[in-house]
Symmetry: D2
Subunit: 237 residues, 4 copies
């Protein structure tokens, strides 16, 4: 898989922040600007997935973050009222799309078709998975990034164990070494970020760890700083 | 039902143009500006339902049209990745939301809950229905506008017969006279618009009749002009 | 609505027992035989809704109970792998079908179409609803029986308040006096049954109150005895 | 994967007949008896997937065919009205279950969970797939049988090309040689069966080719005879 994407390239270490339905409009933009500044200073890639309606807002008012849609449909232009058209997502300024999150599961045929549609348009794909078997199955569909995230841990503040982290990375790389793996679930603070990256992860992310923090902006800085340091320390050994 | 909405009031005769997944971005905006100009000159209310990502674009660049979302979910702020949050739709500039279109059907409990969420936020609701029984059922849920549109005719260029038009209006008004009724399905040109309004309809609309016209901008003018004339002629008798 | 059904007529006071996915096969049949005996001795109508695969088992081995499917699809014979075909449900011995339960919600168009398919085949329909608005909406679709059951109370052991009971009955009868109303939610013992019937209900029912009882067979007798007594006492006044 | 199933073992050459929603009750049983007789005489394994309500009817009145459900849900015993409980399917006499047919697609997490539930209960799994990528993805989930069937060809009478047949078998066996592969789509007569088996397939199947034949019973014999002969000829070379 050597896809010639025209989206901005993401490289490890990277991070994903998913505002889900917690943030929108002005408050979303405010946090996005903090993320943008931190990402720039620390030189890390950060994917942010706002509500569909906020994609233009973030795309037009940030420079360094990667704005992805939370989901899109596989349909071609035409009928399909209420759908999220890939071309519209792209035109609004998104660089990629998240697919198959535990809160928006797709059937296998639709998932495969939506990844293909994204490839056609030069939209990157970040696909969520749960068990090791599901991760292998998704790797066969060749997305750009796989999120390895045990569903049972989402929003719990409990992180994946290190066996899961290493097994999932190994399983994906055995099928296709170009697919990047993001370790999700339960990242609550900078130390959690540090630990998972130090253990060998290429990327991680957080939703509730940031949104529900006493000071979300400070938590963004704490987590992204830990991301940078853990990665640099690991590679300097 | 005397809801104190803070959206701009819509009054007959009015029109709905649903770009579905046919138009997006620049081309959507271009047509929206034509609709905006025609609506202003002819003094008619026109609802336009763009892709979610285009709501800010249209809301910020038009004056007279009413921008509605194609759909939204009933969820409260919080979890719900991939959802369309009502607060986000509102913040992006939408005045209302279409619900239950034949291409995005909702179960009854969800439809009732979504209408309530819209009411809370001051978003207008335009709910699609098919048979006379379905229309009565939806009227019990008290949306602002009901679209009476036989599913079998969508996109066919064949209009509803006049018995259906009059029966559906009478059925809705018997349950709640404040609910407005829009007659959909099969409007292909200005004459179709004229006929359905002359027969007693308060409103009508078109998607493929405009999108697939040789000159969509000209068709917008033709249809909205017919809307104005038919309504004025009917009332001057 | 004077439908000439060829299913066995149900008359108040009646009861519904929904085994959901709690009971199947031999244990389901064992309880069904207890229900059948109690229904016969007490002369009350009882609807039992087993798993699809158990419809023949119950239809062939009971005499007095009314076997209904938990759900069916609206499709016509033909394609539709994985569907529940109305004709197959009928041929297997079901007299009717439950629709729109909180655990199997239908969109409004599908609900209306499925009620029509049931009418065509002479299958009775018992449609679940939640709020007063939803009850009015469903009444417009003319099912045989409406279950008025606040979703939030399902499985809680907390019963509906008496205002809800009386309001929902009045609302349905105002729209169509031939539709019967079953008061669901939170019936845990014979006293609960007695209270709701004494308050004016035509019917009630229970799932977890029976399935999770220390002695389900004894609870069946307790509830059906209370049903009979409450109804007779109410009418002898 | 050496699962110790207690279902009857299926071995190549085998066949699948899916009545979908075309056949039910007496007519379904009548055809099932023909299939049972032909399968016995020709010593071939045939999977038949009736409506849920007909599983007991076929399981109790046939000897040689393998009765599978058209679908089942992954839920555990408990709540879940309208669901198809795995334990109920098993108790009704099914040996296995079809999953993920083009008319009943499952999301990846649910598909993985349902295969695991089937494994727990000793139900065999036959999982439908479309493209080569989807086939690889499903192979990672370790079902017993994969149906390789280009969705676009279902019901068309046009068979898969031989490259697809050989590529899909090779892809599955590379991942797990114990998974058997059934080539679906477009089998209209005995010659089609002969060709696909002669080309190297382990199994094939038909729905509309049999149901819509002038004489479905004769077509069953024609297809199963071709299955036996093609396989024997291939192996005697």
């Amino acid at each position: 898989m050597v896809k010639d994407y025209n989206f901005k390239v993401i490289k490890p270490p990277f991070f994903e922040i998913g505002p889900k339905a917690y943030l929108w409009g002005d408050k979303m933009l405010e946090l996005a600007k903090v993320i943008d500044e931190a990402a720039t200073k620390l030189d890390v890639d950060v994917i942010v997935t706002p509500q569909y309606t906020d994609i233009p807002l973030l795309a037009q008012n940030t420079k360094r973050i990667h704005v992805y849609a939370q989901h899109m449909d596989a349909l071609e232009p035409g009928r399909g009222l209420g759908s999220v058209l890939p071309e519209a997502v792209k035109a609004a300024g998104a660089e990629g799309v998240m697919l198959n999150h535990a809160e928006k599961k797709l059937d296998l045929e639709t998932l495969a078709a939506t990844i293909k549609r994204a490839d056609q348009l030069g939209l990157a794909t970040i696909v969520c998975t749960d068990t090791l078997e599901e991760i292998k199955a998704v790797a066969a569909l060749e997305p750009n990034i796989i999120v390895a995230e045990p569903t049972a841990l989402i929003g719990t503040g409990q992180t994946s164990d290190m066996d899961y982290v290493l097994d999932t990375i190994a399983a994906v790389k055995a099928i296709n070494p170009e697919i990047m793996v993001l370790q999700g679930a339960g990242i609550s603070n900078g130390q959690d970020v540090y630990n998972v990256i130090a253990a060998g992860a290429e990327a991680t992310g957080s939703t509730s760890g940031i949104i529900k923090a006493a000071d979300p902006a400070a938590m963004v800085w704490e987590m992204l700083t830990a991301l940078r340091e853990a990665y640099d320390n690991r590679n300097s050994k």
